[in-house]
Symmetry: C2
Subunit: 342 residues, 2 copies
């Protein structure tokens, strides 16, 4: 029996080849009614999308692998949605791998994607030191790799990141402008440039406003609700004077907010709080949580577009890798706003 | 040059083959120090885990594909973490595919996993009607498939779900016991048994407590923050009498809570609210959001364990597929608690 092709479906429906191809790839320009008709006809004619065969012919799988620390946070899930939208529109399927910040898992993820013969890997790294040869090896094999949000700067790999220095600076300056002076910073102990840059922004804002940088107000740990809670408990038990907290991540800021409320310390009147990442819950809580938005969907879309652009070139890897840096956006809410008179 | 094997690494370090194999698979029983030493030695000896070759020999890839509607909700990301923990411990890598509730994407996900030659697929479906042949075809090809949370009951496929009827009943009965009588229900318009069962629980609780079931208090749509907001706006504009809302999903409950607060309707005093799914934000908001917990991590672990158990049998597919049903847990918080005297 002759195998059904996209041309057969197009002829049956009286539409173009391109319409059928795009309908089968769920392209947004094709109406739901057309997609339903195409799928119905494809099924009736027993059409089989033989991806494996076409992938062996073209050497392409049309699958992109994305490596993320975790999809628990709206930060990463929102970035991934931006990527999926652009990649799906361009005929790619997207597979995800969570590392849980483990480099062993990260290496397994890269190997699993190689084994699945993906056409490219988009990765946000777990740590920038220690073992990173598995990323360098992708370049050696000419498998397209892009970093997003967390990049290994030493490797000549294209990347899309945000200006974390500017984000840390804006968050700290906002607290200073609201009249807070003894500002705690809670950051990650992972080897990641993003957290070092946010710290650098915090230090620079204090300096520019003539405030001292006090080492005893800088706390490091695995950023989480618990880290924020523990830090505030420690600050209160040691009676360390402080009137604001800039946490490098929203869940940590939320933990700090919870413990201050439990101990009867009014936020923002006595202590101001700002987080980082604009997690979805921040707008729901009372007081609403100030934060720094990282343009997540845009980061995802830009990463996907840069992949598509570089994949269209003769050599994916250029001598000087393209590095797109997005601007963060300060999102002041109630947890750090004392009003104009203070 | 002779290829480095696991035996070479074991000999070099003076440990057993099993220790090296488990260290390379990130097994939790192996210490971080040992893992680091194994990785260091593996790198130094230029060891290459040739997964593709071994997969071609054994016919196994040791990769499991998971299909979910979206990882934006803590419900699905938490279930997936439960699965990953059990599967990683047993030497499997896990790849994820998000469908965004689109059946076209869902079919692409199944095809992508087949193309990647996964050893099994764990899926939570986008809809139970229309096109589901792609799931039936996995069974025909003897590719192991399990459903979790959302299953297609017509297909003889093993599954792990929760008792949604009982969850809907418990949520509604809790509101009645708190003295609420005119209870709105907001549910999904997707073709999914989980929502139909929650509705059935709502109806049965009203009946058992002698309350009328009023069609005008049952609202359907794409569950989301916006659906909750719109439903409350509509209820207030049409001056429909109501004193409680049971939303079949937490974001929808949150949207309802926000709009009631904006309009100055006190929660829980005037209107009680309960959601479903125990999303992470529910404990943070004011008033804290009552909900129904679905034992997410346990659901993930049970699904992974059932996969491992069935994979160890001669035939993965039994005549009568195993169907594990977990009990939901009522989580009453402030949004629905008026105190014992009311």
């Amino acid at each position: 029996m002759k195998k059904t092709t996209i041309h057969d479906i197009a002829a049956e429906l009286g539409v173009t080849f391109s319409t059928v191809a795009r309908a089968l790839n769920d392209h947004p320009a094709i109406s739901a009614a057309t997609k339903a008709a195409v799928l119905e006809t494809a099924r009736r004619l027993n059409y089989q999308q033989n991806k494996l065969a076409s992938s062996l012919r073209s050497g392409r799988s049309n699958v992109i692998g994305i490596i993320v620390p975790s999809l628990d946070t709206s930060f990463f899930s929102s970035v991934v949605h931006g990527m999926e939208r652009v990649l799906n529109e361009n005929g790619y399927s997207v597979l995800l791998y969570q590392t849980g910040e483990s480099q062993v898992q990260e290496q397994k993820g890269v190997n699993t994607f190689l084994q699945s013969r993906v056409d490219g890997v988009l990765a946000s790294v777990s740590a920038e030191k220690d073992q990173t040869e598995f990323y360098a090896s992708l370049r050696k094999r000419q498998v397209p790799l892009l970093f997003f949000d967390r990049a290994i700067q030493e490797l000549a790999i294209p990347s899309v990141t945000i200006n974390d220095f500017q984000g840390g600076f804006a968050a700290t300056e906002h607290l200073i402008q609201q009249g807070y002076q003894n500002i705690v910073h809670i950051m990650s102990d992972l080897h990641l440039t993003i957290f070092k840059e946010r710290l650098r922004g915090y230090v620079e804002a204090l300096k520019q406003h003539g405030l001292p940088v006090r080492e005893e107000l800088i706390f490091k740990g695995r950023v989480s609700l618990e880290l924020g809670q523990q830090t505030v408990q420690q600050l209160l038990e040691t009676q360390t004077p402080f009137d604001a907290i800039f946490a490098a991540e929203d869940y940590t800021a939320m933990g700090a907010l919870q413990t201050l409320q439990e101990r009867g310390v009014p936020v923002p009147e006595k202590v101001g709080i700002i987080g980082f990442a604009n997690e979805a819950f921040g707008a729901f809580v009372t007081p609403s949580l100030s934060t720094v938005d990282q343009q997540t969907v845009k980061m995802g879309e830009e990463t996907a577009r840069l992949f598509l652009q570089l994949s269209g070139q003769k050599n994916f890897y250029q001598e000087t890798p393209e590095r797109i840096v997005l601007d963060p956006i300060l999102v002041p809410r109630k947890s750090s706003t004392r009003g104009v008179n203070q």
